[in-house]
Amino acid sequence: MEQKHFHHALKIDHDICIGCAHCMMKCPTEAIRIRGGKSILYPNRCVDCGECFKACPVSAIFIDQDDYNQIKNYTHRIALVPSVFFGQFPKEIPHEEIVNAIKANGFTDIYEVETSVELLSEKINAYVKKAEKKPVISSFCPAIVRLIQVKFPSLTENILLLKPPLDTTALYCRKKLVDNHINPAEIGVFYITPCAAKIAAVKSPVGEDFSVITGVINMDTLYNKVYGYIKNNKNQFAEVEWNDQLTEKAFRWMLTNGEAKHIQGRCLAIDEIHNVIRFLERVENDELKDVDYLELRACDQSCTGGVLLTNNRFLTTERMKTTKINTQPDTSAGNINEYRSYLEKRIVLQEVKPRSMLSLDENMEEAMRKLELSSQALSILPLVDCGICGSPSCQAFATDIAQGEAELQQCIFIQKDKEIKGQISPKKSVEIMKKIWGKEKFNPDIEKS
């Protein structure tokens, strides 16, 4: 059974949206249309990559996060912080100071998301070695997992069925507290997310029944709080006890090639969602031979390019690559290795199911009828992909027509043609446009200007 609905962290505020179509033209899965002067999201096509969020000129697209104050509902408030959070701060600010500022903002415990990387990379290597379906595709980036589900359904079998570092570390730190006799109801695990896709993955996990993460805080929210705190408390920096737990491998795991570099065999790392789409086309044709592992990330520069990061991705990447790390894998008591067997039993993901967005109809004969309709429509469309019809491309528009979601006369070229032939009146033509773009864009005072 294919699951029909998914949680999306990306939301469009229709009070702010001006229906400018920037988001529609950028969406890599053609999940947005313009109707009534507003952007409309087709939830089953959206993979939460965040391209629309980056494109919106008026910030009408927002990323729905949990209320920061809800951390107070828990006595033990764990911040799960990805290494990229630290990478955003100037090098002069030591990690201790950042940790101190996170604690000053309400958290009691801080765990780096990549704490589980050393253990996981070992598991991934063992998995890839005996995998029948090659290349194994990393489960790290949730936007990519969703992209494969909707656009490359035959490749769902190639997805690595091991939880990403986030979920593994969340399991570990929760278990560690419970083992210290802390009431599970008093533990709140909050993930500081660099992107929308991770939120969506926490709220409706793929290949798991539930998520061990209590809530999600957007990284820019915490960054502002922490940086503000550091700026305003320059001289009263309280010494906190903090040792960097991460090895160099773990600290840089989320960078492009951070993962692929450490997997044995022939591995490739590809970032940016359009690059990934073009590449997966080829993987799907079985054009690649002898590739063992693919690290695919939706954002350019991987997580340093996350939409919720405050600083420039190239500078953050550079900082993360040049930060000196001397930490050796910690094998002492009390760390993650002690929980190895506990985690090993719990990090296996269930099969990831396809949920193709391309299918025109479940019934093949009906799908054929619709394909015929859309091909007919496409043959008379101008193929300029202007978006005036309210769909992102002529191809998408033709499909919308076949699905009964659009009418041929929404195409401006066809409209002009019909007007000249007297088949529709100029008034009707304006009405059609208003239905797509909203009344406000038709200014009656246009003669005066």
Binding site: S154, R282, E284, D286, E287, L358, S359, A367, M368, L371
Partner: protein, 137 residues
């Protein structure tokens, strides 16, 4: 429904276009993803064969709710010994083609593995016609 694609000889940049296009059709028609994969893998191998070995040709794909029927028709040198060509690892590809990562001698065997029926008719000096049938149920 029928779809036709022309294949240009020698242009490896475009090898795979017909497969990608037909793949999109099959996805729109709600064909099972794993069956799509088998169809596309065998079609892609056939497409590369036309690009690599022939003087040009075309692919005619027909789909109905029961099966997909593909004919790859080219003009070219033909295959002198089909039985030999079907052996895994046997290849007549030029060093130039091999340099590009093609010509490992797995084309026809891979097609046979993925198709339900594979028929090859070839006339030396004239051309080759490959027929692929994949059942959809």
């Amino acid at each position: 429904m029928q779809f036709e694609y022309n294949i240009e000889a020698g242009n490896f940049t475009k090898a795979g276009d017909a497969s990608s296009n037909f793949k999109k059709v099959l996805k729109q028609l709600n064909v099972d993803p794993q069956i799509i994969k088998r169809i596309v893998v065998s079609l892609y191998e056939g497409e590369v064969n036309i690009v690599a070995h022939s003087y040009g040709g075309k692919v005619i794909c027909e789909v109905n709710p029961k099966k997909v029927w593909i004919r790859l028709i080219d003009t070219g040198p033909g295959i002198p010994d089909i039985e030999k060509a079907m052996q895994a690892g046997y290849s007549t590809a030029s060093p130039k083609v091999r340099e590009m990562g093609f010509g490992a001698g797995m084309g026809l065997p891979n097609m046979k593995n993925n198709a339900d029926i594979l028929n090859i008719k070839s006339e030396v000096g004239k051309g080759t016609e490959v027929e692929i049938i994949v059942n959809l149920n």
